[in-house]
């Protein structure tokens, strides 16, 4: 198999205004590559939710996107507080977001379920006090 195209983006944890910019960039790249719109939308939404989570829950991190011949992989790594109970975090409506985040339009507890719904595979590795890595795959 040929080498994947690889893109890496830092995600600034101190700046909510810029949260989501990496996903905007990735969407542009995928459009340029001519992927079908439905696939682009799924990748974009899943990555956007993950990127926002890194900003509001983990103080930022790094996003990596790998484009293979038959799939796109999104890897989101942060050194935030980690997720103690992943099963609980995956439930629709579960959120630990404080009120100031809710007033910015996030904290409905829908992000992780959305990421799972829009991808073909999603894995969460997390250790409390160490960080979280989320790997998602969308098949082409």
């Amino acid at each position: 198999m040929s080498e994947p195209l690889k893109f890496t983006y830092p995600v600034d944890g101190d700046n909510f205004t810029s949260a989501g910019q990496a996903s905007v960039q990735v969407k542009k790249v995928l459009r340029r590559l001519g992927l079908d719109p439905e696939t682009i939308r799924r990748v974009s939404i899943a990555m956007y939710e993950g990127e926002i989570n890194m900003v509001i829950h983990a103080g930022g991190g790094e996003a990596e996107v790998l484009i293979y011949e038959d799939n796109v992989q999104i890897i989101l790594r942060d050194k935030g507080p980690g997720i103690a109970d992943i099963e609980q975090a995956m439930q629709e409506g579960f959120s630990t977001a404080p009120d100031n985040i809710r007033s910015l339009g996030f904290g409905a507890g829908m992000g992780l379920p959305n990421m799972k719904r829009y991808t073909d595979d999603m894995r969460i590795e997390s250790e409390v006090g160490v960080g979280t890595t989320i790997t998602m795959r969308v098949d082409l």
């Binding site: 905007v24 939308r41 974009s44 939404i45 956007y48 339009g105 996030f106």
Partner: protein
């Protein structure tokens, strides 16, 4: 429903976007962006009272084509510019969320959950 009809029904002001003849197939009204991101439909309009750059990014991620800010909310020049770059039409109306949604619904525009693609 055409964007021009939405403008007229809501007495809305057009902040950017020049093709008001584009067809809208479904609508979503919410101030919680992840709720919006949960229901993808084609050619949708987002009605919201939230004003920050994430609103525009959410709409762009979802390939929406129109955003209506309710309660006379005014997005910043940067937000409008970003929307324009991405082909979004942006409107603002003095109507409140409930009234704005109700007017569009009564005129036949369905909700996201009711439209079958």
């Amino acid at each position: 429903m055409k964007i021009s009809e939405i403008r007229d029904l809501l007495d809305a002001e057009v902040l950017c976007g020049d093709d008001l003849e584009r067809d809208i197939l479904s609508a979503c009204g919410s101030d919680m962006m992840s709720d919006v991101l949960a229901y993808v439909k084609n050619q949708a309009v987002l009605l919201t009272g939230l004003v920050n750059p994430q609103v525009i990014r959410t709409a762009v991620m979802m390939d929406m084509i129109c955003i209506v800010f309710v309660r006379s909310k005014q997005p910043s020049a940067q937000m409008i510019e970003f929307a324009e770059e991405n082909g979004l039409t942006v409107l603002t109306t003095s109507r409140r969320m409930y009234e704005a949604c109700g007017k569009l619904y009564a005129a036949g525009l369905k909700g996201n959950g009711e439209v079958n693609e």
